[in-house]
Symmetry: C2
Subunit: 95 residues, 2 copies
DNA sequence: CATGACCGTGATACTAATACCGGTATAGTT
DNA sequence: AACTATACCGGTATTAGTATCACGGTCATG
C-alpha cells in the first residue's frame, strides 16, 4: 500500500471544514468567492460539500483571504469541531 | 485542459515555503518532526525541498503545530517572500 | 575493517485534488 | 411558458501529494 486512502475521520473533518467555509461565505455566490480566491467554482463546491476533504494549503489560504478568515482559527475550529459546535457560531458572526 | 500544471511561480513559492519550514525545524531531525506531525519523513523532506510545492492544508497545519508556527504568518511569509527576505529572519528567531 | 543505527535521497505505486463538460433542479423574472 | 441565475451531481482527464521500498552516506562502536 503506497498512498493510504483517506480515513472516515478525515472525511468527516473535511465536511466540518466545508460547513465552516459555507457559513463564512454567507450570502455571496460561489462563483464570486471562487473568483476572488482564484479557483474554479467546482473546486469551491467540492470543498464546501466535503467531496474534497483535504484541499491544498494555498487553496485554503486564498479562500481564507477572500473570506476574511484566520487560518489558525479555521484549523482549530474544524479540528475541535467534533467536540463543540460553539466555534461555528463565532465564525458565523465573524465571517 | 483539466488539471492545470503548477506554474513556475507556484513552484518557487513552494521552495520558499520549504526553506521556511526547514529553518523553523532548526536542529531537530526530520524523523522527529515528521513523527510529531504525524506524517512520513519522506513527505516532510519533499515539502522542505520544494518537490511537493502545494501540500495539503491539514498536513501543513499539523506541521505548523509541531513546529510552533502560525499558519497565517506562514502563508503571509512565503507569499511575500519574493519581495522581502526580512520575514525569514523573524521565523529563524521565532521557530 | 566490519557492523549497526540513524539520516537523507531516488524510484515507484496509488490515491486525491483540480478543472472542464453536460445534465438536472429550483427559484425569480418577464 | 420561456429565460436566467445559482447550485448540485456524475463523469472524465490529468497533475500532484503521500507512503512504501531500496540505496548511499555518516558516525559511533566493536
Amino acid at each position: 500500500m503506497v498512498r493510504v486512502p483517506l480515513t472516515p475521520e478525515e472525511r468527516q473533518r473535511g465536511e466540518r471544514f466545508g460547513v465552516l467555509l459555507r457559513q463564512a461565505r454567507g450570502e455571496r455566490s460561489m462563483v464570486e468567492v471562487a473568483a476572488a480566491a482564484g479557483l474554479s467554482a467546482e473546486t469551491l463546491r467540492k470543498i464546501e460539500t466535503g467531496r474534497a476533504p483535504t484541499p491544498a494549503f494555498f487553496t485554503v489560504a486564498a479562500l481564507a483571504a477572500a473570506l476574511g478568515l484566520s487560518l489558525d482559527e479555521l484549523a482549530a475550529a474544524c479540528a475541535e469541531g467534533q467536540f463543540t459546535q460553539g466555534r461555528a457560531a463565532e465564525f458565523r458572526q465573524a465571517g
